[in-house]
């Protein structure tokens, strides 16, 4: 029930989500980088009375952003899907080599605190391999990241713990 609600919530945000994106329909996992947030009239009004629109109300749990979670959860009950809404921020942070979204990505991937600076450096260096085009999806970014981690001796261990 909650998941269904959540699905509709997310559908409202990401109209262009692929019909059968990995992680289930309406998951957003298949969204392209720089997916727009549409400032619809409904949104404008919703914000004037701080409202929620559509049937989005309590639709959340587990930070899975509407994605089915057959895949194992990774860290603190969060799945990769938690990164869904932050792809733009993540691309910016990774391009610069630092930032909150990049830290969060490291945490979600289970990277231990002592390896996070190195993680930031390595992903910064391989930014163009991870964000390989303007049309990457969260899914591609994730698998590209794992590929980069695998080739780094210090970080390889995080690429296998899925």
């Amino acid at each position: 029930m909650k998941r269904i609600l959540l699905g509709t919530l997310f559908a409202a945000v990401s109209i262009n989500a692929m019909a059968e994106a990995p992680g289930g329909p309406n998951c957003g996992w298949g969204n392209l980088l720089f997916e727009g947030q549409r400032g619809t009239p409904a949104h404008f009004l919703a914000s004037t009375t701080n409202g929620t629109s559509g049937n989005a109300t309590f639709g959340m749990t587990s930070g899975t952003n509407g994605c089915s979670t057959k895949a194992a959860l990774t860290y603190g009950g969060k799945s990769w899907f938690a990164m869904n809404g932050m792809m733009n921020e993540l691309s910016e942070d990774m391009a610069q080599g630092q930032g909150e979204a990049l830290t969060t990505y490291a945490v979600v991937l289970g990277v231990a605190p002592e390896d996070r600076a190195h993680f930031a450096a390595v992903t910064h260096e391989h930014f163009q391999q991870i964000f390989s085009s303007a049309d990457v999806t969260a899914e591609t970014v994730h698998s590209n990241t794992l590929a980069v981690l695998k080739s780094d001796p210090q970080l390889a261990k995080y690429a296998t713990e899925a």
């Binding site: 909650k2 919530l9 945000v13 262009n16 392209l32 980088l33 720089f34 997916e35 727009g36 947030q37 549409r38 400032g39 409904a42 949104h43 404008f44 009004l45 914000s47 004037t48 009375t49 701080n50 409202g51 929620t52 629109s53 559509g54 049937n55 989005a56 109300t57 309590f58 639709g59 959340m60 749990t61 587990s62 930070g63 952003n65 603190g76 009950g77 938690a82 809404g85 932050m86 733009n88 921020e89 691309s91 910016e92 990774m94 391009a95 610069q96 080599g97 909150e100 979204a101 830290t103 969060t104 945490v107 979600v108 605190p113 910064h124 930014f127 163009q128 964000f131 303007a134 049309d135």
Partner: protein
């Protein structure tokens, strides 16, 4: 439905688990404790007795539980003893906060133990550990955002250690809009309580991008010193409010009020809601929370727009032109004029160009060409990253002046002396004490001014329903419009040098320019309709102008304005005015106003007034 199930279950289960026979006096006493009142969102009704803000039968187990906390308490205790086989529908699963409290208060050691799978999964996934009060500050070009909004963020045990607030959850209370309503109707209904209020829980990150990117509002995060246990109590109660409808009125029973109630559920010793008998404005609630000693520390997140402006600030004219050129066409990254710049300047220019490009994409559908440009700029940033942005934290929003204002003035109009008495319900005008407010934003709601001329001659001077002005400076990169609207009653020159009370609505649009560090110049074209007893027609339209200067000086804010209204019936009304505020203390100000008014109906009139302003609460 639930109620029926529960009572049905109760009958069936009577022989299995007997609810304890509660002593009536004990019930009365328990039901009157602030905690039970808070859990049921009760308030004392106007005609005595109780009423609940919750407007949803699913929230109550007793037939008239919305008006009888004691009956609701009894019905809840009975329902707690329903057979465990009800599972997720069991009252213990639906009302975990009530359950916990009643179990403690009444020492209910023999309760059945239903499996609350849904609740347990949900609660575990949220893993509440600490909480923060979130206040999105006003956005200058949208003064209605000055009323602001507050929400709560629920952090997990590792959130602070790992710096992962992006993974936290937000608890938001707002109007619940079904379907796609006509927009004007929506705003009206929202204000008048036509929509129910509902709690929603969502990833905090969604709220962040909504406020910081889509609406360009700075965000303030007040970390609260609630213990994990207190935070958990609050989250348990939020579960009870899942999909539950509240009465919702924009001005009092709003988001801020509801969140104060939640905080009282978290820590019963707090008394926050009683401080707001009339209206709860979000900044005021921030103040109340802070005064109660709940705030551990404060964090500031600048909006995306502020970040863009901060990045562009050190750039000179030529570099800003580069920013514009590159954001329009990334091939310019290879142009000799760009590559000739020192490398560290290149880093700033391309980062500003990227931010500008994303700013423009704000609120739009994804455009492949634009996405391509953004990506090219990211690659350039990746090769030559700029230093991290350093943005100075502005004044805390809760340190600004209070919102309700009393005004006492003395002055002369031509040769007649007068005293003027005024009250403004909210909030801030261009001249008011400036600390923690943006320069050039004004929103006033409900202002009444009475004048007493010599000889005890009283008159209504003005009644403003709303006055909104938004003077946002234009610059090389961003070109926002300035605008204003106002409506109400005011005195204008009439025949025989009388001051005539007219009703009016007016508005304008134009531009504002930053003329110096603390100096804005503005010019707007205006339109106005007015009902004036000295005019032949019922409604008289006019077009005109409004321009001037706004200067932040050591004493306070100064405005120098010229206005003109050219009516279709031939009347021409013009005025020049000067206002200088002297900021005495946070909540006290003295204002000198001088004006000269011209009209075809009367001789020119001079007016000078000195006015004391007390920003009361």
């Amino acid at each position: 439905m639930l109620k029926r199930l529960a009572s049905l279950a109760l009958i069936v289960s009577a022989p299995l688990h007997a609810a304890p026979q509660l002593d009536l006096a004990r019930v009365q006493q328990l039901a009157a404790t602030p905690y039970w009142i808070a859990l049921g969102h009760y308030e004392t009704a106007k005609l005595g007795g109780w009423r609940s803000y919750v407007d949803d039968p699913r929230f109550f187990l007793a037939e008239d539980g919305a008006h009888h906390p004691d009956q609701e308490l009894q019905a809840t205790v009975a329902a707690l003893y329903a057979p465990a086989s009800l599972g997720d529908k069991h009252a213990q699963c639906v009302f975990p906060a009530r359950t916990r409290w009643l179990r403690e208060q009444l020492a209910l050691t023999d309760l059945p133990s239903p499996a609350c799978q849904e609740f347990d999964t949900w609660y575990k996934s949220i893993d509440p550990h600490s909480a923060a009060l979130i206040f999105p500050a006003a956005y200058l070009n949208s003064p209605s955002s000055m009323f602001g909004h507050t929400l709560l963020r629920i952090d997990q045990s590792n959130t602070r250690r790992d710096d992962t607030t992006l993974l936290s959850y937000a608890i938001n209370f707002g109007a619940y809009i079904e379907g796609s309503d006509n927009s004007i109707l929506y705003a009206w209904k929202g204000l008048m309580g036509g929509y129910p209020g509902l709690f929603a829980m969502m990833p905090y990150q969604e709220k962040l991008s909504e406020y910081r990117s889509l609406e360009n509002r700075d965000l303030w995060e007040y970390q609260l010193d609630l213990t994990p246990e207190e935070t958990g109590r609050m989250v348990e109660h939020v579960w009870e409010l899942k999909q539950i409808k509240f009465d919702y009125f924009f001005f009092d029973e709003n988001c801020s009020y509801r969140l104060l109630e939640l905080l009282q559920v978290a820590r019963p010793s707090l008394d926050l809601t009683s401080q707001f008998p009339l209206t709860a404005i979000p900044t005021d609630t921030v103040k109340a929370v802070k005064q109660s000693g709940l705030v551990a520390d404060v964090r500031y997140r600048p909006s995306r727009e502020r970040e863009l402006l901060a990045r562009a600030e050190p750039l000179d004219h030529v570099e800003k032109q580069q920013v514009l050129a590159i954001s329009a066409d990334t091939a310019q990254l290879q142009s000799p004029s760009f590559t000739a710049l020192p490398r560290d300047r290149q880093a700033l220019v391309q980062d500003a160009a990227y931010r500008l490009e994303r700013y423009r994409a704000n609120g739009q559908e994804r455009d492949p060409a634009q996405a391509g440009r953004s990506y090219e700029l990211l690659r350039a940033i990746n090769r030559n990253p700029p230093p991290p942005l350093q943005i100075e934290r502005p004044g805390l929003p809760e340190d600004g002046h209070q919102s309700r204002t009393w005004q006492l003035g003395v002055g002369t109009r031509e040769d007649r002396a007068y005293a003027e008495y005024g009250l403004r319900m909210a909030y801030h005008d261009l001249n008011d004490n400036m600390d923690s407010f943006p320069l050039g934003a004004q929103i006033e709601i409900l202002q009444l001014k009475l004048r007493q001329y010599e000889g005890n001659d009283w008159q209504v001077q003005r009644l403003d329903l709303a006055t909104i002005r938004s003077l946002t400076p234009r610059n090389e990169l961003l070109k926002p419009w300035s605008w204003q609207v106002a409506g109400g009653l005011e005195r204008v020159p009439g025949k025989h040098d009388d001051e005539v009370l007219v009703s009016h609505v007016n508005g304008g649009a134009g531009g504002t320019w930053q003329l110096g560090d603390d100096l804005l110049g503005f010019a707007l074209g205006t339109v106005r309709v007015e009902h004036h007893n000295d005019f032949a027609e019922l409604i008289s339209p006019a077009a005109g102008f409004n321009g001037g200067l706004l200067w932040r000086n050591p004493l306070g804010n100064l405005t120098l304005e010229a206005k003109g209204d050219f009516f279709t019936n031939g009347e021409v009304r013009r005025s020049v005015s000067l206002n200088q505020q002297w900021e005495i203390s946070r909540d006290l100000g003295l204002r000198l106003s001088a004006s000269r008014q011209f009209s075809h109906l009367a001789t020119a009139q001079n007016e000078v007034m000195l006015e004391l302003k007390w920003y009361q609460y």
